[in-house]
Symmetry: D2
């Protein structure tokens, strides 16, 4: 394939380790360089995934071999890198969320307006084959007009408190995935939200003013209602489900299992090792598919399907949920920039 | 069995047709009479189910052969019959809800305080074997402390508008079942509720100021969160599910099917005729079991397990949900009489 | 209903206890009497199920209130009672098998030829709703021409050795059910059988020359192949399944469960108390339905759908299987009288 | 990794296209060359998968960069290449079956005796994760002593008649997989087999004296019984299942599906696109895992777990099945060389 894209992978943290091998495995992407302001970190990563280690941002963005950047740095640096990369004319793939504040997201969007490079936000769960198939069935009219959408996301165990502190809160960090999925499937965004949250699992999370157990209701303009439930703890694994009720049918996605073995004994009929451990395992393929969508869009000259506007809307909704949960009031999301 | 209870079945409407044959089938119950102020209605019913037709309430309550009344009359007459039967010293089984207003419910409770006859409210879904088994597992500590409770109740098709008009509204008529179930399983009642409702299926329902599609959130004192969803329309049948997440496990009840046949073909693997048609079919056994609980409690001299206080609390919560949905605010239920 | 049939229940053993309450529950049947040559046994049974106790066979068969006999006596007496009842002009429902030898079965068939009274053989599994629905789908052409039929019947635990001794052997006692089902579904009978058997669970069964673990292959005239597996021991309960593969689809019946509760925990996702305990529980409804078919056929003046010829064929096949398993050769069943 | 094995891939047909990309994907294997006596075929394959094209067998086997050969040539050439490669001291991975005749298989085994190079037979289904997990549970004693083993293998559609003509017949070509699996799980080989076969789907297959629909019974020395069913046609896809009944439990493997989407509508609850299309898709991972076992065994200096003796035994059993089906007699496999 001649149209390979030269990629500069920005960052060497957890998400960079997700994208590094997938860039290498994709036949249309060339991992040109990995950037970290600390050269030793960059070198460790290139030793693992290839490419040149870089600690000079200007050099990265000036290199003609770099067609695109994949931003996998800490969340509060995303906007800065977007501004710099857009100004340099590079195509941009940015891990979600865009930022934790609407003000900074609006800065990123202004930069993308000024420098309209191809931009894709990494809402990888859209690219999970089951989720994509569910949405395709909805869009094909298979179940008629939508009445209820429900999304489950329960994590095996709470993250380290340091992660929680910089995450922007549970709604902005995690619920935002469910929010984006249901809006993407429904083709509309809520006019009002109501959320309830508690801290049941890790008192340190509560001490930060954050939640580890939430339920969220979204009211859609069409009259459809949305339920989302999230938990930072789930003893049987990483529970990821969708259920969509329409006038003519219901669609559900089931959890994935590591095996297809059924055990019958005198006590029970059971499937063991219930669910794929966590998001790296469960969504391994969807991260790859998301990079592939970026590649296809850029090489075909079309806009990627997951946009900065989607990211802004999801953040506005997540922030409205957080306020609703704190104040126990219904809240209308601020969609206007 | 010598300790049979002589029963006066009050009413000849839909619910009387549910209880009539079950009283006949129960070895401990004797259907002594069926009461309706219109004798022709009473006669039609006794021709079908046995017993003497009665149109004189005083005669019913004075008859020494009548040990207990089963009240299956229109909702707004329940309280009157409770007052009369309690004063006459009869044991009382009353179809839910107690009434549509807290004021009248409090009148019934005062009557039961003054004349402490055995009283049971017919929250039949508690007596469904699957629901009962789920609660027993929770109470045995099988899944540890509860974090989330979810209840689905979706009906095949909207009821006639005349039924809707006298139903007290969707929350009082239908959601009250889910409310009672989750409180009964959790062993606690919500401190605050938030509900969202729309009218999507029958504009006449909306014209009455009622809803036919709702989602409800309950905040429990323990920090557990509850989700309930209800729909007056469901193309695949009568969908009745529970899901309870605890620290150490999750419990789910599955829908019942009429058969156990699986069909594989080139297009799909499928189970046909999905769900038992409606509540008469799905809860046929639970109505019988509820009568059995009444019989066992009365003959053993203990209080039945579904009380007037449960009925008052469920109504208070349902009314709070209705207000929440109308005003889009969180509401605290009024538990105090 | 005016066309009730007066029934004489013959026998007071295990199967009489199956039929006794079902005759009582059927609105078209009247339990007139229960017969046992020992009057005390007859009296004990009538005390439980009603009717008059009888120890005089002539009196039973001479009574004009007796329209039909339900033969639930030991297998080796079936033919004698059939001859007597047929000569007396009574309709006959006879528990399977007809007998353990073809010679005696031919005697019964001769009696039924001479006195063509309504006769039904109690292959109750045909009247199981799942099995009946599977066959109806096959007959409607839903899966096209049949290629494979498979039947599982695994029992929770071996029967007492005294039962085994008079059972006619595992193939004649148990496999005969699977044989009848697959022939009834396929609409044809095998031209050749091959069976393999071992004694794995109870050495006393082996000492009788009998098997407690078998696999059977039937070759059908159409070219369809049949597999049957039977076990006298099954730790997870009474396993009863069918699978039928046709040109255009496959049909499977699933085992029944006592509840619909699913448990998720850190180790497994499981359904407990797997299968209905044994045939009395699993086929409770099919015994009733079989009596109903008898009632309907007799009152409508048509032949019952499970005939003496079906019983003879099933026995001929079962005996061929037993010989095949003993001698390790393929055997052609002896269908000719 | 320093201990990479240089591989010569023998052959450029269907199976070579299975192994080519998997050799490339395995970090421990280096595809050195692809051999075909016709250089143009070899060149086409190396253009796709890498390595040098070779048409000179002597040069292949003399090359010091070649540590091992992967034999993916037509079945009737396997033995010749094994003899040559063994004499040249190369490790050998050979696609199953070893050959279609026991005489030639014995020649290969003699060659491996004379030149004891590492040898592995490609019974890839052993390396399917579900099958491997089932066997591990059996070996751990989870279900106690085995009583029944059942294997399903139904293919979507008959192969081209030219393939059938050189396949050695359905038992040797296909049933051999099930035979190997059940013997590998049971840890024993049958003392006697009985098989039944018909031609139902493609008359040309019948004209070759071959079958396209079979059922097989194996009698194991322990008394366990085995059932295998095979079909060259299956409208709902590639059906691959195992079921193993032991004293203390039952294990089943379920078919794989392409998605986890469940659809509920007014007619049915269904899962679409039932089964992974055919063996290339269904066993994609097991082929890779088989190569990995070969790599691990060779580099660790131990014997691969799927041996030439396993291949000989499976062929002996398959040939016994074929004779049994043709002659309708029970047959004892010829295990002695």
């Amino acid at each position: 394939m001649t149209h390979t894209l030269g990629i500069a992978l920005m960052g060497t943290g957890r998400m960079a380790h997700v994208y590094g091998p997938k860039i290498g495995a994709h036949p249309g992407l060339r991992l040109e360089m990995i950037y970290n302001p600390r050269m030793t970190s960059a070198e460790r990563a290139t030793a693992q995934y290839g490419g040149r280690p870089m600690d000079d941002l200007c050099a990265v963005l000036a290199d003609p071999e770099v067609d695109a950047v994949v931003i996998a740095t800490p969340t509060d640096t995303h906007v800065d890198y977007i501004e710099r990369a857009a100004a340099a004319g590079k195509a941009i793939y940015c891990e979600k969320p865009l930022d934790r504040t609407l003000a900074r997201v609006d800065r990123a969007m202004a930069a993308l307006d000024a420098h309209p490079v191809p931009f894709m936000l990494g809402f990888n769960r859209r690219f999970d084959p089951d989720n994509a198939m569910l949405r395709a069935a909805v869009q094909a009219g298979e179940i008629g007009a939508l009445n209820m959408l429900m999304s489950w996301s329960r994590e095996p165990a709470p993250p380290p408190i340091d992660y929680v502190r910089t995450s922007g809160g549970y709604f902005v960090d995690a619920t935002i995935h469910d929010i984006d999925l249901v809006c993407w499937i429904a083709g509309e965004r809520p006019v009002e939200v109501f959320a309830a949250g508690n801290c049941k699992f890790d008192p340190e999370i509560g001490a930060e003013g954050d939640f580890d157990l939430t339920m969220t209701t979204l009211k859609m303009p069409s009259g459809a209602l949305v339920h989302i439930n999230n938990s930072r703890s789930c003893c049987y694994g990483f529970d990821q489900r969708l259920e969509v009720l329409g006038d003519r049918g219901m669609l559900q996605t089931r959890n994935h299992r590591d095996d297809n073995l059924v055990r019958w004994n005198g006590d029970a009929t059971e499937a063991r090792k219930p669910l794929k451990h966590f998001f790296l395992e469960r969504y391994d393929r969807s991260f790859y598919n998301a990079l592939d969508e970026f590649y296809m869009a850029v090489t075909q000259g079309r806009a990627p399907s997951s946009t900065s506007a989607d990211g802004r809307a999801a953040l506005a909704i997540a922030l409205a949920c957080a306020r609703s949960a704190r104040e126990s009031i219904a809240v209308r999301p601020s969609y206007q920039a």
